[in-house]
Amino acid sequence: MERKRSSRRYGSGRYRRKSWGQKCKDYFREFIAFMFSNVGIIGLVVGYTIAGAFVFSAIEGGDTPSAGARVRQLRNDTALRLWDLSCCGLNVFSEETWRQSVSKELEAYQQHIVSFIQDGYDITGSGNRSRTLSFSGWFLYSLTVITTIGYGNIAPQTEIGKVVTIIYAIIGMPLFLLYLSNIGDILAKSFKWTYAKCCLCYGCCDGASRRRALRRHQLALQQPASVGAFIGDDWRVQYVVDTEDEAGGDVAVRIERCADGDQGDESSSSGDDERYDPQTVTVPVTLCLAIMVGYICFGAVLFSEWEGWNFLDSSYFCFISLSTIGFGDIVPGKRVISSQEIQLSFIFCSVYLMLGMALIAMCFNLMQEEVVHKTRTCMQALRSMFSCKRRAQRNFQDEDFELPAD
């Protein structure tokens, strides 16, 4: 909110023809503040994830020293039991019964292998290391924890690891939400500015959007909190204001009439006819949805190239990751053999996720107003249906129904 106010102050200053030096200084100050409060957040999130990756690789990277030996021991025991079955038992003469008992032994052996694999031991070929996880793998894990995606292909095995995961999540999630709200704000503003520029070119500033812009100014004036990506805030505040609008039906008209004649300090929507604040443009919902779908398809193409999945699997993966569901059945890095490429694919996946969630935050920011407006009209329709029924039931005092809440 302060940022908006300062930019508006700056905007009004521009029309007073400041000196170049003053303008540069102002630019510089804005830039530094921007860097520190927004890029700072990005840096903080990245730093937190890196720190988490270090911590987790230190905690979980320890080799279970006797794992290889235990597997060999298991094989020895199984071989011994099979020998007992085969040489000295009577059932060697009946192939069927022999096969059945051997099958049972193999099943038991299989179960043990499963428990070894679940403990993290990599039983393939000569793999003696218990975890082939590099730093980038733990980086992806930390990122999935704070974004609440939670794939699960990598999970902490030690107790300390689990406790650290809990603490890391509790601290990291609010941080990531802050990152999302900040970045969503910035991206939404830039996008609105670009969209307004394009919109100006085609001259689509007609009366309807101006009226909507004026209404939004009134909302902005009355609401004390910042218009962030917290949907809850804006839903509640907008509703409060709107019921006041409609409670006395003439209030809204009065506001509009005032605004028409008002040469207030709000930047330019009431002043000039040609310019208006680009922040009041509403981006249509279809455009936001198209952006999201486009990003998912883009990611799908990239992952299918890089990982060798088919397009459907890739887009499924992108959608499930970006919606923070994160099953973990398909994850990057499974099919790639060389460790160098695994590192790159993890890093690439992390970057894709961070960028994608920022884009989604931006789209939600942009779609908020439209969606709220549309839902409100829907709900009003429903409510009027409901209130007609209740009006029939009631037999006195209608003044309560002027309040549109029912």
Partner: protein
């Protein structure tokens, strides 16, 4: 919109109380209470019922879609078994049968081949069960819950292309529905909690003599007694503790694992290494079905409690964030002034 509905009803009560001095008919009051109750049920419980219904419908849908999928790894493992057994039989009926060490080293080699093949099959997705054993109704219900609450455990996942496409569609419609439920539940629980807190506050104030008569709390619910965030945290902690004990007893997990599961589920992370019902698949009697229903309700209610905490703590958080921003701005101004003054000093030399 439902909060406006609630506040609208409340304000209508207020206006009636203030405007009508005529004695309100007790029957009318009762009718109004009933009407309010019905409206409340229709909205809050309606959304809850919609969510549960959506989950149930989704569970049936996914069950029918995924039931017939044949896991190719099952055949691979079956053939591995066969080969291993045949190899050992060959060894037994050959000349090695009388030399124990040689026989055992050969069998060791055969077992190693089996082990590697099985580990590879396990990585590719073998899990010892056919699809229709895996996709029971409780498992499908848990899967649907995991999709629209965005937890996403991943222990049971769709494998068919149709299943994957359906999952995407289900998520696209289910997540907004769930967000609606989340926000509504949060508001309702927050107002209930505030009311409870205020009652408790009044009760404790009662015992302090005539302080109550001086500080007469206004009767309107509009006065905001800010619930301290520590109270919210206590509630959350208590809920996680309940869950820990419950899951530890029922699933046989360690207490730490249980806490880990509760926290990662309630934070919507959903790693999936611990999932209640993973071993319920082995014994499907009605007792375990009840357990799964209780798990489901626990998670849904837990999400509602988190929404409540967000709601209650939002004020505090917003104030704190604004303070932080102004502080940062002050600090930046400070630095800027210092840089400029030092620069000017340099130029002065």
């Amino acid at each position: 919109m439902r909060s406006v509905g609630g506040s609208g009803v409340r304000s209508s009560v207020r206006s009636r109380g203030s405007s009508s001095t005529t004695a309100s008919d007790p029957r009318e009051r009762v009718k109004d209470c009933c009407r309010k109750l019905v409206a409340f049920m229709c909205t809050q419980v309606g959304v809850g019922g919609l969510v549960v219904g959506y989950a149930i419908v989704g569970a049936f849908g996914f069950m029918s879609v995924e039931k017939d999928w044949k896991n190719p790894q099952n055949e691979i493992v079956a053939s591995l078994h066969l080969n291993c057994t045949s190899d050992i039989w060959t060894l037994t009926t050959s000349e090695f049968a009388f030399n124990e060490t040689a026989w055992r080293s050969e069998v060791d080699r055969v077992l190693k081949v089996f082990q590697d093949g099985f580990a590879k099959a396990y990585k590719e997705g073998y899990n010892g069960r056919t699809s229709d054993e895996l996709w029971t109704f409780p498992a499908a219900l848990m899967f649907c819950l995991a999709v629209f609450t965005m937890i996403g455990y991943g222990n049971v996942v769709p494998k068919t292309p149709l299943g994957k496409g359906l999952t995407v569609l289900y998520a696209v419609f289910g997540i907004p529905l769930y967000v609606l439920y989340f926000m509504n539940m949060g508001k309702v629980l927050a107002s209930t909690f505030r009311w409870l807190y205020r009652r408790l506050y009044e009760c404790t104030e009662d015992g302090v003599g005539d302080r109550d008569s001086e500080s007469s709390l206004p009767p309107l619910p509009a006065t905001r007694i800010i619930v301290p965030s520590t109270a919210c945290l206590w509630v959350m902690g208590g809920y996680v503790l309940t869950g820990t004990i419950m899951f530890a007893e029922w699933e046989g997990w360690e207490y730490l694992d249980s806490t880990y599961f509760c926290v990662t589920s309630l934070c919507k992370i959903g790693i999936g290494d611990f999932v209640p019902g993973a071993n319920i698949l082995e014994a499907l009697n009605s007792g375990n079905q009840t357990k799964l229903v209780i798990n489901f309700v626990y998670l849904l209610l837990g999400m509602g409690l988190i929404a409540m905490c967000f709601n209650l703590m939002r004020e505090e958080i917003r104030v704190k964030v604004r303070e932080l921003k102004t502080e940062m701005r002050q600090w930046l101004e400070d630095i800027r002034v210092r840089i400029i003054s030092s620069y000017q000093r340099k130029r002065g030399y």
